[in-house]
Symmetry: C2
Subunit: 295 residues, 2 copies
Amino acid sequence: MEFKDKFAEYIEYTESNLKKYNALTESESAQKNLIDAMNYSLEAGGKRIRPVLVYAFTEAFGGDYRSAAAPASAIEMIHTFSLIHDDLPAMDNDDFRRGKPSCHKAFGEAMAILAGDALSVLPFEIISDDKTLSDAQKVKIISVLSKAVGRNGMIGGQVIDMENEQRDDVYEANLRNMYRHKTGELIAVSCVMGCICAGADENSIKIAADYGYKLGLAFQIIDDILDVTSTTEELGKPVGSDAEENKTTFVTLYGIEKAQGIADNITCEALDCLEKLGNNEFLKELTEMLLNRKN
Amino acid sequence: MEFKDKFAEYIEYTESNLKKYNALTESESAQKNLIDAMNYSLEAGGKRIRPVLVYAFTEAFGGDYRSAAAPASAIEMIHTFSLIHDDLPAMDNDDFRRGKPSCHKAFGEAMAILAGDALSVLPFEIISDDKTLSDAQKVKIISVLSKAVGRNGMIGGQVIDMENEQRDDVYEANLRNMYRHKTGELIAVSCVMGCICAGADENSIKIAADYGYKLGLAFQIIDDILDVTSTTEELGKPVGSDAEENKTTFVTLYGIEKAQGIADNITCEALDCLEKLGNNEFLKELTEMLLNRKN
């Protein structure tokens, strides 16, 4: 199957599962607004890179990607929960997300806090209730996922981001540490969960995680570059916001050209990881697509 | 062992486990403020009723209560996460909690949101990484816990509470539905998790859950009564806040005397559940203590 057809198939499966797992049930009529708020943000789109990685890694190790529906949906819910809370007035105070009013603008601040909260625990419900994975797989997946989200994962990364903003002396090491936590952990754990669904061995899981961290870092550096080289139209959000907020990025540290060189190098390292895993064609094309993206 | 000694033993084990599970590790120096904020709220005290119930039900079914350290700590973390987010300006806007500045007053609003978020996922990490429970027990515990917290559990209850506040026509059924979700679910799941740790049968688990829902409802009605009959000193928080906020409670619906009668009846029903489970002396005394409490 061609890359773009496979990609479309994964996306379609992702969308239909997100709908299914967060459908309103009869007993929850009193919580309709909450579930509407959760779905509003879940359906806001985005690249769905994380679930696609879960599916691609499941298939790369010989598994049926449909067996990974729960962890793939879970990681997108976690990502969405983080965006809802990130946009809150007390955090980044963003009124728009992907061209639509952000969750707290559409549903009010209290409901947005609760929608994010509910999306932070629903992942553990759908994984533990899954009908295809074994108990051992579920426990392993919940262990790696909760760590990737928590105080030493994505949430920790948001704290490091906040602390960096208070400082005048942010170096590459601080930036890398922040990106690794804030973006890298969820991307790496997506790859790892796919491996677990397919029953891959520990060494392969390690290489898959390594690939994920590298992909996440390259992804973030390219974000830094697009913030100065793209147009608001292409990017779907205001460009130049990093400079406006006086943020240290790979571009402010090294300039566009050198930042691009670093992103290229890290992407090559990510491709090397894939080679060690047997050179999966879909993952190779996905990696290159993410490097060459315009938004 | 006497009730108060057993109670003290459970509390001590709870406190030491909360410290252990949320200790700062070397690799997390950049997230020190986050972990301080989490511990600040975890250490703020409170009755620790939920972990005590986990331990008591584990022992009631012949298990070693120490084997329930992970779920007992988990439920207190979830409770703490809900208090941190409840106190936020966009929610109840409470500056104080148990006589101390609330988390967002002490650490800022952004850090309080993130501390709550981190406390919502850490429970799943410590349960999945536990060394004494089997994979089957962990999956079952995570399934019941995530449901008790989520959109049709405690978080759903907060939404029902918000929606009730917008209405002029709140009846007993609405109030019971809100209390069952907002308070009952976490209390019931505490009892259920204790049963699972001890390997209790499904029928006993059902009765234990029923006991928990009744205890939670009686607990909440007594809260309604104490809000008008207690003193600020005794209660540790301002009395009369329900009336001030124009909230419908069992007292506004029925008056103090009838509300007390309802609480007494529900407590009797809870004690009936215990009788069906073999009349555990500790749980009986705990139930009576909670009914007769002054704060």
